[in-house]
């Protein structure tokens, strides 16, 4: 059963999968670090933006929560040697989306305010914090690595054509030699 799902990865596939997972894990870990901040200030971690305690209860911001949860899931997926390479491409798409959301954390944080207040916070110096930039970058890198993991070991049709052409070239040369010899 498992043999139908998994395959023994090559060394390159293993390294790529591991690297993807590491980047994705770090991106997830930064869920607990500042997502927005200011120069020298305390900032607000992504998990607090995801679970924003408002006046009378807990407000759940699904975009932020899933943006950081996705890399964790993808980390688990990409470290496993699936036969089906679409898994890696799907993970790449998800991590790409997660990375974009991470880069938009400031706007997501400010979205709860009306435009006037959001503008005030921008002028006041609220900025995308370095950990969110790192998380977004790592998520994008993980997406790129997942794509590479998906393609790793694949023999491209383009490669076959070239081989055939080379072989064909060889055959033509052989024919030419044969003709010369006949003459």
């Amino acid at each position: 059963m498992l043999k139908n799902v998994f395959e023994k990865p090559s060394k390159a596939e293993f390294v790529l999968g591991l690297a993807t997972s590491c980047f994705a894990l770090v991106a997830f870990g930064l869920f607990f670090a500042d997502a927005v901040g200011d120069k020298g200030g305390d900032g607000l971690p992504a998990f607090k933006i995801a679970f924003d305690v408002m006046i009378d209860g807990l407000h759940f911001n699904a975009r932020v929560f899933f943006a950081y949860l996705i890399p964790l899931l993808c980390a688990a997926a990409t470290v496993l040697p699936f036969k089906e390479r679409k898994v890696y491409f799907a993970a790449a798409v998800l991590m790409l989306a997660a990375g974009i959301v991470m880069f938009c954390m400031k706007e997501i944080y400010l979205a709860k305010y009306d435009e006037e207040l959001a503008d005030m916070y921008r002028k006041a110096g609220v900025e995308l914090a370095a950990p969110a930039i790192v998380a977004g970058t790592f998520s994008l890198i993980a997406a790129g690595l997942a794509v590479a993991r998906g393609f790793c070991g694949v023999k491209f049709a383009v490669g076959k054509d070239s081989e055939e052409k080379e072989n064909a070239g060889g055959e033509n040369a052989q024919k030419a030699d044969d003709i010369k010899e006949a003459e």
Partner: protein, 518 residues
């Protein structure tokens, strides 16, 4: 050809050298070139804010101080004279009248409060005189509807503090937690539910009249100078519903700004008529947390900034309750404030207390107080610093002295918080500048707040909250040193007066005021 291992080893060594070099370069402090541990750095030429005073609130307890009693004399001396800790800011509470309907006896102020009924406040407004045929503003504008003898204890105690021989009172601030209950939506000095905006716009004028009547009585009736009136207190808090054990009123930012706009006009008129310069204190924010959802401090400031009068506001009062020991929260607030309004807005810290039931008369809460004061002066840039209630009743740590409320001759017992506040307030005068100063390479719990007096002397408030005594390395350039220590067995006691040395030993769990002279 070099082997791979050799190349790898060279790379590792080079990396280590580079890292070490960077670390060394970054770690060196020009102010402490020898890299000494616990080195007191002082740069007296680098000046920050001017100090505008230290104080405490007279809310709730002052109304129980019998006029002419020994208790009154003892309390006034211990708080507002050089015999005591020389506080300079007196905060009188304009009550919302909850005494009239015994609000906090019925609803309960919590089991920890011995005298919950004392959280009810007296109001000079005579509710029985309220004429339904007139508007609220007309009722509250009528001087015949006021009887200030209802709050005689509190008013007379304030007068005693301000006029006693050797009084250190320099600033009187009148503050209110809630409008009078006859002016609120709920008909009480709390909301019916949490975050209910309890002052309707149609009663803004009436509330202004109420505040002005108090101001007029204190200025013209008692003959005391008033620096500011603070009409709103911690507006972002809920102040309603089940858990409302004291007077309070929630305002949304735009409501707050609209009320201030109205009150500014009343105050201006009063000042013109009386030749005074009473300011509008804004806005006793419950915190300075710019990122917390319930913080909202920037929203209130921004709402006020839409009005012309905001240009005249040079000081904002905040409370340190939100993140009392956070450096970062303070720096975020200051950073944002500066980005929006430049450096024209000063900050005063007008309320904090140690919110724990029981009585901690040891050093723990006193060391905490010193940490809050240090961070408020250094990281928040606070010019003034006020504690919440000056006295408590042995039941809660919100006082700096304990005294049996209502007693004619009750013993005034200072807590260590009182003495530690004195480590600052007795030695740092109005106009003194905070200057650059800190303990470099400090041991855990060791920190300093440094001020410069007009005559050039340096005041260092040195705290060692650690578990062991620490030798502080002193900077060169001074001739004499005086020190007053508060610790487990000393109450602001002078422990040294003599020649300057190279080190000073700070006992574990102590706060010491050191005066350095050249």
């Amino acid at each position: 050809m070099m082997k791979k291992r050799t190349v790898f080893a060279i790379c590792i060594v080079l990396s280590l050298c580079f890292t070490l070099g960077v670390a060394t370069a970054c770690g060196e402090n020009p102010a402490n070139p020898q890299g000494l541990d616990n080195y007191l750095v002082i740069d007296a030429d680098k000046e920050y804010q001017s100090v505008t005073g230290f104080g405490a609130s007279a809310a709730w307890w002052a109304q129980t101080v019998p006029v002419g009693s020994q208790s009154a004399t003892d309390l006034a001396e211990s708080l507002y004279s050089e015999e005591g800790i020389a506080l300079s800011i007196y905060r009188y509470n304009i009550g919302g009248g909850s005494w009239d309907y015994n609000a906090y006896n019925e609803h309960g102020a919590g089991d920890f409060v011995v005298f919950p009924e004392y959280r009810n406040t007296q109001s000079a407004f005579i509710a029985d005189n309220y004429d339904e045929s007139l508007s609220a503003a007309e009722n509250f504008a009528d001087p015949d509807n006021y009887d200030f003898s209802k709050d005689e204890n509190a008013l007379e105690f304030m007068k005693l503090c301000a006029t006693q021989e050797g009084s250190t009172v320099e600033r009187i601030i009148l503050f209110a937690n809630s409008p009078h209950y006859l002016l609120t939506v709920s008909g009480k000095t709390n909301g019916d539910y949490a975050y209910q905006s309890n002052l309707p716009a149609e009663n803004y004028d009436a509330y202004c009249e109420y505040l002005i009547k108090y101001l007029d009585y204190v200025v013209n009736g008692l003959g005391l100078g008033v620096e500011a009136v603070s009409a709103i207190n911690e507006p972002q808090h809920s102040w309603g519903g089940e858990n409302a054990p004291q007077e309070g009123c929630h305002y949304e930012p735009k409501e707050l700004a609209a009320f201030y706009d109205k009150f500014y006009g009343y105050l201006k008129e009063f000042n013109e008529a009386n030749g005074t310069n009473v300011k509008m204190d804004v806005f006793e924010s419950g915190n300075y947390d710019v990122y917390k959802s319930k913080g909202r401090v920037m929203e209130y400031i921004y709402a006020m900034s839409k009005y012309d009068w905001f240009e005249e506001i040079d000081t904002i009062s905040v409370h340190s309750y939100g993140s009392p020991v956070s450096v970062e929260a303070r720096e975020s607030f200051v950073y944002m404030l500066n980005n929006l309004y430049g450096d024209r807005i000063n900050i005063e810290m007008s309320e904090i207390c140690y919110m724990e039931a029981g009585l901690d008369d040891g050093m723990d809460s006193a060391l905490w107080l010193s940490e809050v004061m240090n961070k408020d002066f250094v990281n928040l840039g606070a010019r003034a610093w006020c504690w919440w209630m000056a006295t408590s009743c042995d039941d809660y740590n919100d006082g700096i002295v304990t005294w049996m409320w209502g007693s004619e001759n009750g013993e005034v017992r200072p807590t260590k918080r009182y003495w530690v506040m004195g480590n600052y307030s007795k030695f740092v005068d109005t106009g003194d500048k905070r200057v650059e100063g800190y303990v470099d390479n400090a041991s855990d719990g060791v920190f300093a707040t440094v001020f410069k007096k007009a005559d050039g002397r340096i005041v260092v408030v040195l705290t060692n909250a650690g578990k062991s005594a620490t030798d502080i390395n002193l900077p060169a350039g001074y001739a004499t040193l005086q020190a007053w220590e508060t610790s487990a067995d000393k109450d602001l006691e002078q422990v040294y007066d003599g020649n300057y040395g190279t080190t000073y030993n700070a006992p574990a769990g102590s706060v010491t005021t050191i005066i350095l002279s050249k």
